[in-house]
């Protein structure tokens, strides 16, 4: 065989090889190596619960095992609270190592699998998760046909740690709260338990103990104020003071008030005593101390206000009370008396917004003629900030006039030494408009009251209104006016007088002498700025009506706690005239048809108003045979009946499931009857949607808003109930060992043990159809070019040889010339 033939044969063989490679590439073949090798994705748990060294060791063992089993491209994703980037180092903090979300890591694996088919996923983790639902993620991987190899790596338990914290579920204000802390591990060295308790209002207390008996330490706290008390526990080394283990929000104790009912008395009544004798836990306080309970309403079931005026407490208390009633389900019973309802300043107050009656004066059936007599002497020009007393009096008259009814009449007299009628007595609407115009007068001159009284009385005497009222504003001395004569004239004309004595120089005693004790009232105005509000409220209180006498009583509706109506109600001696709120039920009324006992539900709270009170104005009721039923029934109803303690809260991975049972029978399916509000660690007063899931069973789901205290208030037709729930911290640093759920996942076939051999069996099984293998194509090209080169080797040599010869000749020539040069 000559060389050409041999070259041709070799070229033929090479081209044949190229043909094979090309055909293989074209028909889906893969070059041995990473292209066709199983693609394994390794998910490495880098959360704080994972031991770094053991994890790295597992990874170091996995990689060569996978390679030796034929795994090709080995991708790696580190994850903790979130997954990092594939095969790229991620900042550990970016992974949120204080949490573990295995599901998110598995979803990242699925995303990679969707782009470029994986053969399997290996997970190095202890299986503990604080977010997501790993089982759901594993099921998705199973759907995708992606096997999961689990390399279980967990932290060993620490040498010593807090194993358990036991605490009472409830305590009463004033009690001691014992907390026991059980330790586990090596207890030989001196150890200290330090615990702190945080109350709702932010107050905290701490306690510590070094006395360990059988690994158990006891600490105690004071239940100082009602509300939730959150307990944190720290285990310390006595020698170094270094914390060994920390359990934040280890327990919660619900501190309840001493009594379930707070009873505030503005005057002495009988109900408090009756309730105490009947066994109710009642905390009786003077009305003036209500402000001290503004923060403690949450633990109460009800508040009773007996003849309490708005002025007895500050705005903060009234706001807290209204909120506790509407949002917290607190019951409220308001009893009438001389200082309550309209007389107590309830009209348009925050308290009135939750009451079943409106404290309006009965102005509709008793129109009044009102004349304002305003002092414009020079002393009324005193003031501060550019506003003088006269201007404030002007504003007071205007604001008060706006509150008058359509059938009322008003007039205005200004006076110094002489009176001037600015607005003659006439319809209130026209008078109010006239008052809004410029009064065209300014303070100057002296003060003479008698002419002013004359002018005002003269105006009022022209009126045929049922009530005649004179509102006098002055800051000066009473001159030589004859008090007895003026008083007699006022009495003759049936004029009620309200005198507002402005400033420290006003002669209050003399004014009181003129207006009298029963038909008049003197109100001291220390700060001129208070003049508008004092005038308005003073007039409203004066106009409010107390019906007195032997007033017959009728029951229109059953009381809320009784099925039937009662007969033979004893008469009452007095009551405050009110009218019912929209939607309220007037169960008992006077013979005039005005409410005596009215009730309604406002928000979650139940409220009852007894306008006659349950004291001196109802002397016969207290001797009545039904009195115990009435007093006890009212207290019971406003307190509400707990729905049986059947509120159950269950912690789910990403939510809380709340179920509540109602003792109302299987037929109840109206969601309007039941509601739940939740205070979460993030949001207060969040309503929870409920759904009836079974006979008498309601269910709601609350999305996870983090670890911490959740306070549920369940409001049902039977009453309201409060339930605390402490969603535990899922601290990564307090997790050791393996998640027991791993075994369940194995049993369910969701995960398997690490088996490198399975990779070899998976080779090429799941390769997604893609472009022809480039390695095989490249080999085809190389073989083809080599074949051409071999085939054309003679031409190649023929081309190269002359060149080589030329070079060789040139080099030889140079060498020869170099050798001959020295001789020359």
């Amino acid at each position: 065989m000559n060389a050409s033939v041999a070259r041709t044969l070799v070229a033929l063989a090479l081209q044949g090889g190229a043909l094979v490679a090309l055909a293989a590439a074209l028909f889906g073949g893969l070059w041995p190596g990473e292209g066709g090798a199983p693609r394994l994705l390794v998910l490495v748990d880098r959360s704080q619960s994972m031991p770094r060294a053991l994890t790295d060791q597992a990874l170091a063992e996995l990689v060569p095992a996978a390679r030796s089993a034929g795994a090709g491209a080995l991708q790696q994703i580190e994850f903790a609270g979130r997954p990092g980037a594939a095969s790229a180092p991620t900042e550990e903090t970016a992974l949120e190592p204080s949490a573990t979300n295995i599901e998110a890591a598995l979803e990242a694996a699925l995303a990679i699998h969707a782009q470029a088919g994986l053969t399997g996923v290996a997970v190095i983790s202890d299986g503990h998760e604080s977010a997501g639902d790993a089982a759901r993620g594993l099921r998705a991987l199973r759907q995708a046909g992606l096997p999961v190899h689990w390399l279980a790596v967990g932290s060993p338990p620490p040498p010593v740690h807090i194993a358990e914290v036991l605490a009472p579920g409830r305590a009463r204000v004033g009690q001691r709260i014992p907390i026991s802390v059980q330790l586990a591990g090596q207890l030989q060295r001196p150890l200290r338990i330090r615990a702190s308790a945080r109350a709702h209002g932010g107050e905290s207390q701490s306690a510590s103990s070094e006395d360990l008996i059988d690994g158990k330490a006891m600490v105690e706290f004071d239940a100082g104020r009602s509300g939730a008390l959150l307990v944190d526990v720290v285990l310390e080394d006595v020698g170094t003071g270094r914390p060994i283990d920390t359990l934040v929000q280890a327990a919660v104790v619900d501190v309840e008030p001493r009594a379930a009912i707070l009873y505030a008395q503005g005057s002495t009544g009988t109900l408090a005593r009756s309730l105490k004798l009947g066994g109710w836990a009642v905390d009786v306080i003077p009305a003036g101390r209500l402000d001290a309970h503004a923060d403690g309403l949450a633990g109460l079931r009800a508040v009773i206000l007996e003849d309490v005026a708005i002025a007895d407490a500050g705005p903060r208390f009234w706001s807290a009370l209204a909120s506790a009633v509407k949002d917290g389900g607190l019951g409220l019973l308001v009893l009438g008396g001389e200082r309550s309802f309209a007389r107590g300043g309830y009209r348009h107050s925050v308290l009135e917004s939750v009451l079943p009656v409106l404290s309006e004066p009965a102005a509709l059936d008793q129109p009044a003629a009102i004349v304002f007599a305003v002092d414009k002497s020079g002393s009324m020009g005193q003031g501060s900030g550019g506003v003088d007393r006269f201007q404030l009096a002007q504003r007071a008259v205007q604001e008060t006039a706006r509150g008058l009814g359509e059938r009322d009449a008003l007039g205005l007299v200004v006076f110094d030494v002489a009176p001037r009628v600015l607005v003659p007595l006439g319809p209130a609407a026209a008078g109010t408009r006239a008052l809004e115009l410029d009064w065209r007068t300014s303070p100057n001159g002296g003060t003479r009251l008698a002419p002013a009284f004359d002018a005002a009385i003269g105006e009022l005497e022209r009126s045929a209104a049922a009530r005649r009222m004179l509102v006098l504003v002055t800051d000066g001395f009473v001159d030589s006016a004859p008090p007895a004569e003026l008083r007699a004239r006022l009495a003759r004309s049936h004029i009620e007088t309200i005198a507002l004595a402005v400033g420290p120089d006003a002669d209050v005693d003399a004014l009181q002498h003129i207006v009298g004790e029963t038909k008049g009232q003197v109100l001291r105005v220390n700060q001129a700025a208070e003049l508008p509000s004092i005038m308005r409220s003073g007039l409203e209180r004066r106009r409010s009506r107390v019906e007195r006498g032997a007033i017959a009583v009728q029951q229109r509706q059953p009381l809320p706690f009784a099925r039937d109506t009662w007969k033979d109600w004893p008469a009452v001696a007095a009551y405050l005239a009110t009218r019912p709120q929209t939607g309220a039920v007037v169960a008992v009324q006077s013979q005039q048809g005005e409410p005596l006992v009215a009730f309604h539900t406002v928000g979650r709270g139940r409220v009852v108003a007894v306008t006659s009170g349950l004291g001196p104005w109802v002397p016969q009721w207290l001797r009545w045979a039904e009195w115990p039923r009435l007093a006890g029934g009212l207290a019971d109803w406003i307190s509400g009946t707990p729905p049986g303690g059947a509120l159950a809260v269950k912690d789910l991975p990403q939510a809380l499931r709340i179920e509540v049972d109602l003792p109302t029978g299987p037929g109840l399916t109206d969601p309007g009857g039941v509601s739940i509000t939740v205070d979460t660690p993030q949001v207060k007063g969040q309503p929870l949607d409920l759904e009836v899931v079974a006979a008498g069973r309601w269910r709601g789901t609350l999305p996870d808003e983090g670890a911490g205290l959740y306070t549920f208030v369940v409001s049902t037709p039977g009453g309201a109930q409060r339930q605390l729930h402490l969603r535990p911290q899922r601290a990564e640093t307090r997790r050791w060992g393996l998640n027991p759920a791993l075994e369940a996942w194995r049993t369910a076939g969701l995960v398997g043990a690490w088996d490198p051999g399975s990779l070899a069996r998976k080779r090429d099984v799941q390769r997604a159809p893609g472009p022809p293998d480039r390695a095989l194509t490249t080999w085809a090209l190389v073989l083809f070019v080599a074949g051409v080169a071999v085939d054309r080797a003679s031409g190649l040599l023929a081309g190269v040889t002359p060149t080589l010869r030329r070079w060789r000749g040139w080099i030889s020539k140079r060498l020869r010339s170099d050798a001959s040069s020295p001789q020359e």
Binding site: T8, S180, I213, D214, G667, V693, F784, R792
Partner: protein, 522 residues
């Protein structure tokens, strides 16, 4: 081009021509005398002329170019892009339309559409199991989809599977708006919608629980919905193993639901059915296994105090049986017998005279706040020392004494030192509630509050398409660059043919070069 750098190899094309510059392979022909070749023309080279290159260089250059182009992986817009067909396999897809179900009709439509498009790359994924790729739309897969429809709640496709290089078709009846709410606002490229039937009343959820006053009765609650577009009236028939128990008539406005309560005697299962049936027969009846509500048998030690025995006997979820009863799920042991090693047991310890508790009750944090009893501890006594061992969980304690302990071990064992039989126990439900608490911990199940539920999910009876589905856009293939075709394969096929030609040419060359020598030898 995915990797255009390969095109740099084209710069070597002149080399191939250069290799072939010497003309064809010269064949050595042995002759007996040169004179025989006197008439032959002188070679061009000998005449000083340049010989033309071997024409084979063109073929080889072509092959070289084809291979380089293939390696550069050219791509061009595809006429028939790959398609993923997402199949809504919710219950409403089983509505008859009128001969076959919506799902079957929709799959047939999808098959026609796919045949028209002549697709080569196709995925079939049910929305209830989006990660499961059934592959092609075969009869078997269609039958499998129809058979499994309505068993799991479908969800919109996951974002990772909504790849931009595929078309995404959705087969749905449009009755469930949530299935049209795809991630990142994506929309199906094509919606195959099958929904003409507008009437359906269905049974969405049936739940059961023990009657609070009579444990032998079961309280039922059924959610009945009108998922159609017209007012309907149906007769609801309840039945148990013993036959029909009651029936009632219900009128429902479109889109409304009612809850229907009922009560039956304890039975193995309960069934509710609607009469007359409608196009979606699958939700016209619902059956519920009541096994979870069956009372659990507890082996009772006769030595237990009567109050404790009475608490077990009156527990609505427990049935006391003899100690040696094999079918008992748990045991109550008061010390008279050896404990069965594989049976969860509550052991009531009594070792000394009753002593009052030294302080208020304290609960383990393993018990949720709502799972704890509202007992103040007054009147409770303990009659044993109950030391905790490593791994145990103290569930209830008072002062420094454990009262209920869950022992560590493979089989559950609860021990209590409470004097559950004492006359001084608090009145009311103290003992029964403590017994219930311990058995719930032992059996890891809510005994008093158990429910049995068969739930088809909200709006399962909805068969009328939501407006959004009707308004869904028809198939629109987005910009030409989204769906691309791999161009390497045809180039390689061409290269394969050229290579075959090359092989044939080489073989002929070998034969040409080798044959005369062979002949000479002969």
């Amino acid at each position: 081009m995915v990797t255009p750098l390969w095109l740099l190899g084209l710069a070597l094309l002149p080399l191939i021509r250069w290799l072939h510059r010497g003309g064809r392979h010269r064949r050595a022909v042995p002759v007996s005398h040169l004179g025989l070749w006197r008439g032959a023309a002188a070679s061009p080279a000998g005449m000083g002329e340049r010989r033309p290159p071997d024409p084979a260089w063109r073929r080889r250059a072509l092959l070289y170019v084809l291979l380089l182009l293939a390696l550069a992986q050219p791509q061009w817009p595809q006429q028939q892009p790959p398609v993923t067909l997402w199949v809504d396999d919710s219950l409403s897809m089983l509505t008859r339309e009128p001969e076959v179900s919506r799902l079957a009709a929709g799959l047939a439509q999808a098959r026609s559409a796919l045949a028209e498009a002549a697709l080569s790359d196709f995925e079939l994924r049910p929305l209830s199991e989006p990660w499961r790729n059934l592959g092609s739309l075969t009869d078997a897969h269609a039958a499998s989809l129809v058979a499994s429809a309505g068993r799991q709640l479908p969800r919109p496709p996951p974002a990772a599977l909504l790849r931009g290089d595929r078309l995404h078709w959705l087969l749905t009846d449009g009755a469930h708006a949530a299935l049209l709410d795809w991630p990142a606002g994506q929309q199906p490229d094509r919606v195959i919608q099958v929904a003409t039937v507008q009437r359906n009343v269905g049974l969405e959820r049936l739940s059961a629980r023990r009657n609070a006053h009579d444990p032998d009765r079961i309280d039922l609650l059924l959610r009945l919905s009108n998922g159609g577009a017209s007012p309907e009236t149906r007769v609801l028939v309840w039945s148990t193993e013993s036959g029909e128990t009651s029936r009632s008539t219900h009128a429902l406005a479109p889109g409304t639901s009612v809850h229907v309560p009922a009560s039956v005697r304890a039975s193995a299962r309960v069934r509710a059915a609607l009469q007359p049936g409608d196009a979606l027969a699958e939700d016209d009846q619902i059956e519920l296994e009541l096994a979870p509500l069956h009372r659990r048998r507890v082996a009772i030690d006769a030595a237990c105090p009567p109050a404790l025995l009475a608490a077990v006997a009156t527990h609505p979820a427990l049935v006391p049986v003899a100690t040696d009863a094999a079918e008992a799920m748990a045991a109550l042991d008061c010390g008279s017998r050896e404990r069965a090693p594989d049976r969860p047991t509550i052991r009531v310890r009594a070792e000394h005279l009753a002593k009052p508790l030294g302080g208020p009750l304290r609960w383990s944090s393993t018990l949720t706040e709502s799972g704890r009893l509202r007992l103040d501890g007054e009147g409770l006594r303990r009659v044993a020392q109950l030391p905790a061992r490593p791994g145990d969980v103290v569930l209830l304690a008072a002062a420094d004494e454990s009262l209920i302990i869950q022992r560590a071990g493979s089989t559950r064992l609860l021990e209590t030192s409470l004097d559950l039989g004492a006359a001084g126990m608090p009145a009311g439900a103290g003992v029964p509630l403590l017994v219930n608490l311990m058995f719930e911990q032992l059996l890891e199940a809510p005994l008093l509050d158990e429910l049995a539920i068969s739930d088809r999910g909200p709006a399962a009876s909805q068969v009328v398409p939501v407006p959004r589905a009707r308004a869904a856009p028809a198939a629109q293939v987005e910009g030409g660059l989204r769906h691309v075709h791999d161009g390497a394969r045809p180039l390689l096929l061409l290269a394969l043919l050229v290579l075959l030609w090359e092989l044939v040419a080489l073989a002929r060359q070998w034969r040409r070069l080798g044959a005369p020598a062979g002949a000479g030898a002969a």
